[in-house]
Amino acid sequence: MKDYYIFKSGRISRKDNSIVMETEDTKIPIPVNDIDNLYLFGEIDLNTRVINFFAKNGILVHFFNYYGWWTGSFYPRENLVSGEIIVRQVEHYLDIKKRLEIAKEFVYSAIDGFIKNIKKYPNIDDSNIATMNNFSALALEQDTIASLMGIEGNARELYYALFPQIIKQEIEFTKRVKHPPDNMLNAIISFVNSLIYTAVIKEIYRTQLNPTISYLHEPSYRRFSLALDVAEIFKPIYGDRLIFDLLNNRELTDKHFDKELNYCYLKENGRKIVVKSFDEKMNNTIMHKKLKRKVSYSRIIRLELYKIIKHLLKEEPYRAFKIWW
């Protein structure tokens, strides 16, 4: 099973028990059992027949617009549903103490990722690490979600401010701007974060967790707000590390970006480079200490969700992922 990233434009349809991608000049069959996620970057026609077929086979489809911005995902009707889990998810949301306990883990782990990333670059002054450590300690003391979010915001601001010292290319980057990104770095951060976010959505689909009930973000904030929560953990260590490598190895340069008056986006050739390295990264494996097995980077996201489930079942207090390599 793998993820398919489709950049071409054309039509995707069902042919018997398989999927066919038709472009102007070719017809490419894709075995349905082989598809995990489908990422559509091109202009694609789909009909209900093929969408129903995706649903039947548990295939998620992620849509991106002309600029490569994520516009939405097709999340088929869940086949893994447990009333028990939903009840417990809600219980842990309604009780502010329980909610904070989980939310703090997300923030703590995100800041841990910032610190581990900064430490890889010896040119960065140690005082920044001390300040970051301070933020982690502070995060654990907060007693409201808003103030916890505030600490996370402060830590992130400092972290982004250090990017110019990490990235060896000359790029203008003053601060993180999201909607829409205003420069190269913001464009690539937004793009990579959307890949992480969809990767988490996919893993949530493979568990009984309900993607709308979240702890750090408000459940009403977005349809997959739990994915936003969990993505916080993986953005620095999966996403930012990828960004640093691509820019520092000059695999991505300004020729991969298009800059309009007040926004900037990755062109198709750039998107392909990012998607390819991202996909390789997610399939990388690493020895898991506790499982004594090799697991892929994407599997680690799933394991994170299992740990959350075990926390909800009151088996083991949730300790969010901290990178060990």
Binding site: L80, V81, S82, E84, I85, K290, V295, L303, Y306, K314
Partner: protein, 164 residues
């Protein structure tokens, strides 16, 4: 008559691991992509394609029931979990006996080209009754039974869940 919604799978899981039974009973099942499951499905579909009939009775699923001859067939791919297979079948026999249908069980191992007859002794009946009461008690617990730490865990679909 015991709670009829206890399924053969639950009986089998009870024999291998009470934690597995609990998780499965709360609908916390892992996705079925493990090769073991896939192979099982394949064998199941190919070996008995012509005769294949599946019935579902109050939550009890039987792979193949030749009602005229009063036989329950279970198709299994290996003998590795013999004990739990056996009890699963015995439970089916017990169940049907209670609703007045006499049947005999057969476990088929198409890969090993073997079949085995199964019957239900008085002792078995006692064991099953105790098992059903136990299952009922276990799945009512608010917390899952602990990890069993047995070699079987490595093959179990819950391995990553339990040990991560």
């Amino acid at each position: 008559m015991q709670n009829p919604i206890i399924t053969g799978t639950q009986v089998a899981y009870y024999i291998v691991c009470q934690r597995k039974l609990w998780l499965f009973s709360k609908n916390i099942s892992m996705e079925h992509t493990s090769e073991l499951v896939e192979i099982g499905k394949l064998i199941h579909e190919n070996s008995y394609q012509r005769k294949r009939k599946e019935i579902n009775l109050e939550g009890i699923k039987i792979d193949l029931l030749e009602a005229k001859r009063g036989l329950i067939h279970e198709v299994k791919k290996s003998k590795s979990l013999e004990e739990s297979h056996l009890w699963q079948i015995k439970y089916y026999i017990y169940y049907f006996k209670n609703i007045g249908i006499q049947i005999e069980g057969i476990i088929d191992y198409p890969k090993l080209r073997k079949r085995e007859r199964v019957s239900l002794s008085l002792e078995d009946t006692c064991f099953i009754e105790k098992t059903l009461m136990d299952i009922d008690r276990i799945i009512r617990k608010p917390e899952a039974p602990t990890i069993i730490n047995k070699p079987y865990c490595k093959k179990c679909s819950y391995y990553e869940f339990c040990y991560c």
